[in-house]
């Protein structure tokens, strides 16, 4: 079977430019001011809630949430709330015209709770009122008769070690008959034999917290009723096409009656994936019932309990190695807590198992993973998507092993990492750019690793310094999770300006700038010629979800395919106009000329105008379908992702033994992203991902009381890093090992940029505190009180 033309185009471009240095491109990899910078610095009304400015006579929708983490609903009485001044309607589950469900992967999450509530945050009624204040005040008058059930917050009450069998307990999802959401495994080689014979074995238990995205824009949606029972919704959503599907289902409408537009998002990080569907559905429901514009605005506190979190993890890892430092096998049991609902839990669990052995040659592995329900806030997508959790455990294990073997952590890793021509634990042959070794060497050199590692060993001061490394890999795009396609359309207007349309959103990550750079480079026009249309399900092609570090590589490929076709047509016409061969045409808009005769040029606008006269179409649709991914459920063998981003991070810390306070002094991050397409964007990910990862390592966790209520639901109690917490220096370097199925060789960086941060910091802290503490650095966040207890336990300070 011959390859699809889009695959051939991407490969052709890759090979044509393979040897060309990034510095020799005009726009690829250059520092280009992002397309929306000026709107953003001037505070233009570009976010969902800003659009209220243009809305007349809206109604406000407020979610009444339960105070019980686990209870049966015996009855609901909303009659008093309905009589409250300014209230128009009070909706409960029975008022939903379509299917009462907004579950992202499986239908387990009602939009409005019907039979039971499963965490403190479940919506039990929607109040629609003339003002937001009316709606909030009326919520006191909704009365519910509950039958409280056992509240389960500890995943070890759902499953037990040594097989992760489900224990008897009060079922949270009784309708499913089990509170184990999904299970995955890897069975490779003969780990039992290896562990019986291995000279060196280390084992430990690891815990990682439930992390909050803490994007600065709280959730918002505005729905406008349209003729014919249709509805248009502006919503904070990463994935407008998924939102459309969810809203259509709740309303019982066909897709073509639901139009979803995603304005600029004030941060997403994965969190705006499923809650976007929920707020859009709530607003749309109210708009269709009242026939007025309907507004949903979350407060910060609602945002904290109203959207998904990073899955917390408890894992037991056992590694075997030979005396000379060869990794022989891994056994592990991993439990991910998905809270009250599945959200993206099944996919998070799958990504976690795929990456559960780290970027190493592993020939023997026996790994079990279970994603379980509890009565906590539900967990879903968050930058890294299961990989930061397992990488924390794996990279701590690698340091324990290195210590046990008396080896330097870098030397030990270099002995075991994946290189070109190696196979992953799943048996996948890495037949192209694996830049991990180069990344490690660069990070070691730039950080002064060996010298500092030695010097800090000798410190006796009350401020102890340490230096740590972590390495990782991260599968690009969604792999075997689902249909992995993307598309984009490009329309050159008659005045020469260009419209770029795609279904991907900008939540700040900036990958749309990558699309602009690819388009500008390929056509030969400055980025200022290009206008990016917002993602609008009625006017843009479905590009798949804006998740999984897939925009630069997947949508970038779609843009490249379309731009390549347009460029070929333009070259042919220009060749006729100028009298040379199409391949000799140079476009440096506004000038177009033959390579050998730059003096004799026509303008870009003339070329575009001539295309209209000659009947040469100047719009093009680009499509790209990822290479197929494979996964064997029984063994974990296959090719789960078509390519991987690799990285090495070195962190340097100082721990105050008297307080347990850790400061990160310096950091070096090196990522192999194939080709740097958007330099500022890549640097921002390296730095922003680092700081978010530093929060994960040192300060961020959600704390619950025993009834399942979150204590810290705002930004004064849930601490994220401030400007005063950042290291003096974060050096960001890139390795460009090249990926032949990526645009100009590029791979993704959005998610990978958080994966290795926490373990690099934890490894640095372990180094600072010295060998005997090593095993106790097994849980994050390493808050001052946690560290101080460890310091006291080991008598590091009198």
């Amino acid at each position: 079977m011959s390859k699809p033309d889009y695959v051939e185009i991407i490969e052709e471009i890759f090979h044509k430019y393979r040897e060309k240095k990034t510095r020799d491109f005009k726009y690829i990899g250059k520092k280009i001011v992002r397309w929306d910078a000026i709107d953003k610095v001037l505070g233009e009304p570009i976010f969902t809630a800003d659009l209220l400015k243009y809305i007349k006579n809206p109604v406000f929708v407020y979610s009444v949430r339960t105070e019980y983490a686990h209870a049966k609903i015996k009855s609901i009485d909303v009659s008093n709330a309905e009589k409250y001044p300014g209230v128009l309607n009070v909706l409960t589950a029975k008022d939903i015209p379509g299917v009462n469900d907004v579950g992202y992967v499986i239908p387990d999450q009602p939009l409005i709770a019907d039979r039971k509530v499963r965490y403190i945050g479940d919506t039990i009624a929607l109040i629609i009122a003339e003002s937001y204040e009316n709606a909030v005040d009326a919520s006191d008058y909704v009365s519910v008769d509950y039958e409280p059930l056992e509240v389960i917050l500890d995943p070890l009450k759902i499953v037990e070690w040594n097989g992760l069998e489900e224990k008897p307990h009060t079922l949270i999802h009784d309708e499913r008959g089990s509170d184990v959401l999904s299970r995955y495994k890897i069975r490779v080689g003969d780990p039992k034999k290896v562990f019986n014979e291995a000279p060196v074995i280390v084992e430990n238990e690891y815990r990682t917290p439930m992390q909050e995205h803490a994007y600065l824009e709280p959730e918002a949606a505005i729905a406008l009723p349209e003729p014919g029972d249709a509805v248009t919704i502006y919503a904070k959503t990463q994935c407008p096409f998924d939102t459309r599907k969810a809203v259509a289902q709740v309303l019982g409408l066909p897709f073509n009656k639901v139009r979803v537009i995603a304005p600029a998002l004030g941060g997403g990080f994965g969190g705006a994936e499923d809650v976007g569907n929920e707020v859009a559905a709530k607003a749309a429901l109210a708009a269709l019932i009242t026939k007025r514009p309907a507004v949903v605005l979350f407060t910060r506190e609602e945002s904290f309990i109203g959207h998904s979190k990073r899955h917390s993890m408890i894992a037991r890892y056992k590694h075997a190695a030979s005396r000379d430092g060869r990794l022989l096998g891994i056994e592990a049991e991993i439990i991910l807590d998905t809270g009250a609902y599945a959200s993206l839990g099944p996919f998070v669990g799958w990504r976690a198992i795929v990456h559960s052995t780290g970027p190493y040659r592993v020939e023997n592995a026996w790994i079990d993973l279970a994603v379980v329900y509890t009565n906590k806030v539900y967990a879903g997508a968050f930058r890294g998507f299961g990989n930061p959790q397992v990488t924390f455990a794996v990279e701590r294990q690698m340091d324990l092993l290195a210590e046990e073997l008396g080896m330097d952590p870098v030397e030990f890793r270099l002995k075991n990492i994946l290189r070109n021509g190696d196979r992953t634990v799943h048996g996948q042959l890495l037949d192209h750019g694996v830049g991990l070794e180069e990344a490690i060497k660069k990070a070691v050199e730039a950080s002064g690793w060996f010298e500092k590692r030695r010097r800090y060993n000798l410190e006796k001061d009350v401020y102890r310094r340490g230096i740590g490394i972590a390495v990782f890999y991260h599968g690009n795009s969604i792999g075997a999770e689902g249909a992995d396609y993307s598309s984009a359309s490009i329309i050159i207007q008659r005045d020469g300006s260009i419209i770029l349309r795609s279904g991907v959103t900008d939540m700040g990550q900036g990958s749309i700038q990558s699309l602009i750079n690819i388009l500008a480079e390929t056509l030969g026009v400055p980025p200022s010629y290009i206008r990016v249309e917002p993602a609008d399900t009625s006017t843009v092609p479905d590009s798949g979800p804006t998740v999984a570090s897939r925009v630069t590589v997947m949508t970038g490929n779609a843009v490249l395919v379309a731009a390549y076709k347009l460029r070929n047509r333009l070259n042919k016409l220009a060749a006729e106009m100028l009298g040379c061969e199409p391949e000799d045409i140079v476009i440096e808009a506004p000038n177009v000329y033959c390579r050998d005769d730059p003096e004799n040029s026509i303008t870009w606008q003339e070329l575009v105008e001539q295309s209209f006269w000659k009947g040469i179409p100047l719009q093009e649709f680009g499509y790209y379908r990822a290479p197929p991914a494979e996964w064997d459920e029984e063994t974990g063998r296959g090719s789960p992702y078509f390519t991987y981003t690799f990285g090495a991070i070195v962190s340097e810390v100082e721990v105050d033994l008297e307080t347990g306070v850790t400061r990160v002094l310096e950091a070096v991050t090196v990522y192999d992203i194939g080709r740097v397409v958007n330099l500022i964007g890549a640097e921002l990910h390296a730095i922003g991902g680092y700081i978010q990862g530093m929060g994960y390592a040192l300060m961020e966790d959600l704390y619950y009381d025993d009834q399942g209520r979150v204590y810290n639901t705002n930004l004064s109690t849930y601490h994220i890093p401030t400007a005063k917490d950042i290291p003096k220096e974060i050096k960001a370097y890139f390795v460009e090992a090249g990926y032949y199925h990526g645009p100009y060789g590029a791979k993704g960086l959005g998610e990978p940029s958080i994966v290795g941060i926490a373990p690099s910091i934890a490894n640095a802290i372990a180094h600072a505190l010295g060998g005997k503490v090593n095993r106790d650095i097994n849980k994050i966040p390493l808050t001052p009180d946690t560290l101080y207890m460890i310091i006291k336990k080991h008598n590091l300070i009198k």
Binding site: G43, P45, G268, F269
Partner: protein, 150 residues
């Protein structure tokens, strides 16, 4: 209650409920969308405005408290030279991602530079401490601000 104040160099008068916060007055009554609602508890800094040239969280101020005061938002600074220098440095140094926090950072930086020509890194970090950013990791914001030290 009737309140009169100077908003972006223009004298204005509004009739507000005594409980109304300045953030709501600016967003809803004057349509100033650079002033963002992030937490309404004085934690995040996205609603920062200048009151008599000092950066203040507008969610923590009742509108009736600003009687006779001078309020400035980025909309009121578009022709100001220092402001232009700051926004150009933000754009060129790549100090912007989602942009939700950006106007707040810019006003805080503007207030700092009005009183100090050459702030130290410590001055800059101290000034920015009350504005949260979840995307950029702050580094490029600090770089942008150090690049304009005269």
């Amino acid at each position: 209650m009737k309140v009169r104040f100077i908003l972006n160099n223009r004298e204005v008068e509004v009739d507000v409920d005594p409980r109304e916060i300045l953030l709501d007055t600016l967003r809803y009554r004057f349509g100033l969308k650079s002033v963002k609602r992030g937490c309404e508890r004085g934690e995040c800094g996205t609603c920062t405005v200048l009151i008599n040239d000092k950066p203040v969280y507008s969610c923590m101020v009742l509108t009736v408290q600003v009687e006779g005061q001078r309020i400035t938002t980025v909309e009121g600074l578009v022709n100001d030279d220092l402001f232009k220098k700051i926004i150009v440095s933000f754009a060129e140094k790549g100090a912007i991602q989602c942009g939700f926090c950006t106007p707040g950072f810019i006003l805080t930086a503007y207030a700092l530079y009005r009183i100090k020509d050459k702030p130290s890194i410590e001055d800059i970090l101290k000034a920015l401490e009350g504005n949260l950013c979840r995307c950029t990791g702050y580094k490029k914001i600090v770089d942008a601000l150090t690049s304009i030290r005269s």
